[in-house]
C-alpha cells in the first residue's frame, strides 16, 4: 500500500519513485502553464473542462483500482458504459428519470454478476471473461438501439448526471469527489478493502487465513461494472443521449490511470488517490496536447510516450 498520503515530507521524496505520479502531475502542469499560458491553459473554464472530460474515466478507474488490487482485470468497462447510456436513455423515455437510473444500475449489476460468476465459478480468467463481455456489451447496445442515438429529454436527469453545475463548479466534480471519497475509505479503512489487497497480494495466504477469495473477486467485478454503468449514466446526462459509441476504448485510459497512480497490475497494491491523480494527469495531457495544436495522430503518439515514461520511472527495479 502506498503510504504517500500519510508519510512525512522527507519520506515523500525518499520514495520519489513511488510518488512519481504526484511529482509528474505537478511538473506537467507547470510546463503546460508556462508554455500554453497564451492559449488559455490556466483559464478556469479550461481547467474545469479537464475535470468534465476526465470524470467518467476517474469514476471507472476508482473501481478498477479494486479490481487490479485483487489481482484481476476488467476490460469491459468502456463497452459497459456505452451499453448503460443506451439502457438509461431508453428507460427514461418510457419510465422517467428514476426508471433510467434503475435501468443503469441493473445493467451494471447484471454484467458484473455475469463476469464474476464466469470468473469465480466457471474459472475463466477475468482477462478473457471481460474481453468477451466487451464485445457482448457493445453488440447488445448496438442491437437494442438500432445503432442510433437515443435522445434524453429529461433536463433534471441531465443536470444531476453530468450536465449541470453549481455556480461555476460542474456537478461532475461532485461525482468524482463522492466516488473517490467512498473508494479511498473503502480501500484504506474497510475490512473489505483489506481483504481485496490480501487476495491480490497473496491469494493462497489469504485463503489460508480464512478469506473467501472467490467472493472478493466476484464483488470487485460487480463493483467495476456498476462503476462503468455510473460512468455511462454520466455520459448520457452530459450528452443528453444514449449511444453505443460512448465510452469506446475507455478501458485503456482507465487501466492506465490506475497503473500511473501506483496500483499494481499484479495485485496487492493500490491507492485510490493515486488513481484519481492518474486520471487527471491523462486529462491534463490530452488537454495540453490539443491546446498545442497537435493533430490527433500526434496526440496519440505523445500521450503513449508520456504514459510509458511515467510508468517506467515508477518501476522499482533499475
Amino acid at each position: 500500500m502506498a503510504k504517500a498520503a500519510t508519510a512525512p515530507a522527507g519520506a515523500f521524496f525518499a520514495n520519489w519513485r513511488q510518488n512519481i505520479i504526484y511529482i509528474g502531475f505537478v511538473v506537467i502542469f507547470v510546463i503546460f502553464a508556462v508554455t500554453l499560458n497564451d492559449k488559455g491553459f490556466l483559464n478556469p473554464n479550461n481547467l474545469l473542462n479537464i475535470v468534465r472530460q476526465t470524470a467518467m474515466i476517474a469514476v471507472m478507474a476508482v473501481a478498477m483500482t479494486f479490481v487490479l488490487s485483487a489481482g484481476e482485470i476488467d476490460l469491459s468497462v468502456g463497452a459497459v458504459a456505452g451499453l448503460a447510456t443506451v439502457t438509461v436513455a431508453m428507460a427514461i423515455s418510457v419510465a422517467g428519470p428514476l426508471g433510467g437510473v434503475l435501468a443503469g444500475l441493473a445493467t451494471g449489476l447484471a454484467v458484473g454478476m455475469f463476469n464474476g460468476w464466469l470468473t469465480t465459478k466457471i474459472g475463466i480468467p477475468s482477462f478473457l471473461t471481460t474481453l468477451a463481455m466487451m464485445g457482448i456489451a457493445k453488440g447488445v447496445a448496438m442491437w437494442i438501439s438500432g445503432t442510433a442515438a437515443v435522445p434524453i429529454l429529461s433536463p433534471g436527469y441531465s443536470w444531476v448526471f453530468g450536465g449541470g453545475s453549481v455556480g461555476p463548479i460542474p456537478v461532475l466534480l461532485f461525482w468524482i469527489a463522492l466516488v473517490a471519497g467512498i473508494g479511498h475509505i473503502a480501500l484504506r479503512r474497510s475490512g473489505f478493502g483489506r481483504r481485496v489487497l490480501a487476495t491480490g497480494g497473496g491469494e493462497t495466504a489469504a485463503r489460508y487465513s480464512g478469506i473467501d477469495t472467490a467472493s472478493i473477486k466476484f464483488r470487485v467485478l460487480v463493483l467495476s461494472s456498476c462503476a462503468a454503468a455510473l460512468a455511462g449514466m454520466l455520459y448520457a446526462g452530459r450528452l443528453q443521449s444514449g449511444r453505443f459509441q460512448l465510452g469506446e476504448g475507455d478501458e485503456l485510459s482507465v487501466i492506465a490511470a490506475a497503473v500511473l497512480g501506483g496500483t499494481s497490475l499484479f495485485g496487492g497494491k493500490g491507492t485510490v488517490i493515486g488513481t484519481i491523480v492518474g486520471a487527471m494527469m491523462i486529462g491534463l495531457i490530452n488537454n495540453g496536447l490539443i491546446l498545442m495544436g497537435l493533430e490527433f495522430s500526434q496526440q496519440l503518439i505523445a500521450r503513449g510516450g508520456i504514459i510509458i515514461l511515467a510508468v517506467a520511472l515508477s518501476q522499482k527495479t533499475r
Binding site: M1, R189, S190, G191, L197, G201, A205, R207, S209, I211
Partner: protein, 523 residues
C-alpha cells in the same frame, strides 16, 4: 565389482558457507563409475548443498572437483552439464503440454533438411532409450497425462539422453508407488551396467539398502563415513546420521504436561488425496507430534483439519461436539489455527506490512460496521511483536524485509491473534537459524502449558522429541502408531544429550518400520 572401477566423480576438500553458517566443511566425496552411491544425512547435513556444488549451482569456497579424470573447468551449471552431470528435479522440469519425446529433446531437437523440427526422430530416439531400459513409457503421450511414476522415468530419460555419465537422483521415489519404485530400480541397475555413476539421495533406508552399493553419510556439513553397504546395517546408518547434534534443543525443558479434556478428536478422517482413515485425540495442554517422511500425509492431515482440503469422510469433533469444517473460515471459527508449511506463499503476503499480515485472519472481528479499527490493528501488531520478540524496524515495514525466523514469528503471531485453542504448526522451524528454532520450540511448550492443544509436524526428529508429549508416526497417508514420548527414553541414560540421540534413533527405526509395513501390505 572385481577390477577397481574408474572414478567418475572426485570431490576433495569442498567447503561452502552461507551467511556465516558453514554448510560444508572440507568434505570429500567420491563416486565410482557403475555404482549406485547413496548420500545420506539428516536435514541440514549438507546433502543438497554438495549436490548443488557438483551441479554447478553453488560455487564452493574451497576444494576441487574432478569428473571422469578431468578437473571441472568452471563452477557453472553449463560446465557441469558439459562434463556429463545430470540431475532430476524434485519439482519436475517437464512441460506438461508437450509430449514425452518433445520434453526429452527440448532445445536439442533434431532438424530435417529444411531446418524444421523432426518430431518423428525425437520419438524414435526416446523409444530407443525406453527400450534399452526396458520400461514402458509412450513417447507420444502428453506429459500432463502421465502418472507421477512415468513422469519421473521421463525426467530420468531426459537426463540419460544428454549422455550423462553421472546421474544425481534427489528423492526420486517420493511420488512413486511401490511398483513404480520397482521399475525405477530395474532401470537404475541397467544404467549402472552401462557404467553410469548414480548418486541416490533418499530418507528411506530400506530403499537405500536395496539399491545402493556404497553410501556416504554427512552430518553438520562434515563427511562422517563412506563404506560399502554391506558394512552399514540400518541401525548403524541411523547412528551415523543422528550423531551428536541437537545442541540448543536438548536444553529446552519439556516439563510435565497436565493433560486436560479432549479438545480435538478425529475418527476415520479421510482427505481428498491423503490422509486415509486417521483417528486420534488431542488433549488440552499437550503437544502432539506428527512424524513421517515426505509424502506420508502429515501436511495433508493438517490441511484437512484446517478446512483447506475438507475431509471427504470421517468425523471431526471439538470438545465432544461434532463439527463440519468445509472452509478455512469454519476452522478459524472453531478455534483451529494452522501455521502452514510454505511460509512465503501460504503464510504471509511478503509485500504487505507486519501489521497488515498480523490481522489478516481477524479482519472481520476488528471491523465494526465494516471499518477497520486502526488503533486496534496497531495495538494487536505491537503486542505480538513484543510477545514473540519479532525483530522488525517497525510494524509498518514489509514482512519481506524480515529474516526467515522473524517472518515465521509473524505467521505464528498472526494465528495467535485469532486466540486459537488448537494450534497446528507444519514445519515451523524449516529454514530458520538454531536460535530462533529453540525459541519457537519453547513457545510451543508454553502454549501447551497455557491450556491449548498443539500439533507439531517436523522432519527434524530431535525437534519433535523435544517439543512433543506424544508422537503419531504416519506413512503413506495412514496413522501407523501413537508413541508416548516417555516410551522413547532410555531410563538408564542420564545425560540429556545422549538420551535425545537414543530417542531419535528409536523414532527413526519406528518411521522406517512404518514404511516397510506399508510395502508388505502392497507387495
Amino acid at each position: 565389482m572385481t577390477a577397481p572401477a574408474p572414478v567418475a566423480v572426485r570431490m576433495t576438500g569442498i567447503s561452502k558457507s552461507f551467511g556465516g553458517i558453514r554448510a560444508l566443511d572440507n568434505v570429500d566425496f567420491e563416486v565410482l563409475a557403475g555404482e549406485v552411491h547413496a548420500l545420506l544425512g539428516g536435514n541440514g547435513a549438507g546433502k543438497s548443498t554438495i549436490l548443488k556444488v557438483l551441479n554447478g549451482v553453488h560455487v564452493p569456497e574451497e576444494g576441487e572437483i574432478v569428473v571422469g579424470g578431468n578437473p571441472l573447468a568452471a563452477h557453472t551449471p553449463e560446465a557441469a552439464r558439459a562434463a556429463g552431470i545430470a540431475m532430476n528435479f524434485q519439482e519436475m522440469s517437464l512441460i506438461p503440454t508437450l509430449t514425452v519425446a518433445q520434453n526429452i529433446f527440448l532445445t536439442r531437437e533434431a532438424r530435417d533438411a529444411r531446418g524444421m523440427i523432426d518430431d518423428a526422430d525425437s520419438v524414435r530416439r526416446a523409444q530407443a532409450i525406453f527400450d534399452m531400459l526396458q520400461v514402458d513409457v509412450d513417447p507420444h503421450a502428453l506429459v500432463g497425462d502421465l502418472g507421477a511414476g512415468q513422469k519421473q522415468l521421463t525426467e530420468i530419460a531426459k537426463a540419460i539422453s544428454q549422455e550423462a555419465r553421472v546421474l544425481i537422483l534427489d528423492e526420486p521415489s517420493t511420488a512413486l508407488s511401490v511398483s513404480d519404485v520397482e521399475r525405477l530400480f530395474v532401470f537404475l541397475r541397467r544404467l549402472k551396467e552401462q557404467g553410469v555413476a548414480i548418486i541416490y539421495v533418499s530418507h528411506r533406508m530400506d530403499e537405500i539398502a536395496r539399491i545402493s552399493d556404497r553410501a556416504t553419510i554427512l552430518r553438520n556439513g562434515k563427511h562422517v563415513i563412506t563404506a560399502p553397504l554391506a558394512e552399514l546395517p540400518i541401525d548403524v546408518m541411523i547412528e551415523h546420521i543422528v550423531g551428536k547434534k541437537s545442541k540448543g534443543l536438548a536444553d529446552v525443558a519439556r516439563g510435565d504436561a497436565t493433560r486436560g479434556e479432549v479438545l480435538l478428536e478425529l475418527s476415520d478422517v479421510t482427505g481428498p488425496h491423503k490422509p486415509e482413515q486417521v483417528s486420534f485425540a488431542l488433549h488440552r495442554g499437550e503437544v502432539l507430534g506428527l512424524a513421517g517422511l515426505l509424502g506420508s500425509g502429515r501436511s495433508a492431515l493438517a490441511r484437512v483439519i484446517a478446512g483447506i482440503e475438507p475431509a471427504i469422510s470421517g468425523e471431526i469433533a471439538i470438545k465432544g461436539q461434532k463439527v463440519v469444517v468445509r472452509r478455512p473460515a469454519d476452522a478459524i471459527a472453531h478455534g483451529i489455527a494452522l501455521v502452514p508449511e510454505a511460509r512465503a506463499t501460504q503464510g504471509i503476503i511478503p509485500a504487505h506490512s507486519v501489521a497488515d499480515n498480523m490481522v489478516m485472519s481477524v479482519i472481520g472481528r476488528i471491523s465494526p460496521w465494516g471499518m477497520v479499527d486502526r488503533p486496534r490493528v496497531r495495538a494487536i501488531a505491537d503486542e505480538m511483536i513484543q510477545r514473540l520478540q519479532v525483530k522488525t524496524a517497525s510494524r509498518d515495514h514489509a514482512v519481506s524485509t524480515l529474516s526467515g525466523g522473524n517472518q515465521q514469528k509473524v505467521v505464528i503471531g498472526k494465528w495467535l491473534v485469532t486466540a486459537p485453542e488448537i494450534l497446528i504448526l507444519d514445519e515451523p522451524t524449516a529454514g530458520i537459524d538454531i536460535g530462533s528454532k529453540a525459541e519457537i520450540i519453547r513457545l510451543v511448550r508454553e502454549l501447551a502449558q497455557s491450556g491449548k492443544g498443539v500439533i507439531v509436524i517436523s522432519s527434524e526428529l530431535s525437534e519433535l522429541l523435544t517439543a512433543c508429549d506424544r508422537i503419531l508416526v504416519m506413512a503413506d497417508g495412514r496413522a501407523h502408531q501413537m508413541l508416548d514420548r516417555a516410551e522413547l527414553d532410555d531410563p538408564e541414560e542420564t545425560d540429556p544429550e545422549h538420551a535425545l540421540q537414543a530417542a531419535e534413533r528409536r523414532l527413526q527405526i519406528e518411521i522406517q518400520e512404518a514404511l516397510s509395513i506399508k510395502e508388505a501390505n502392497h507387495g
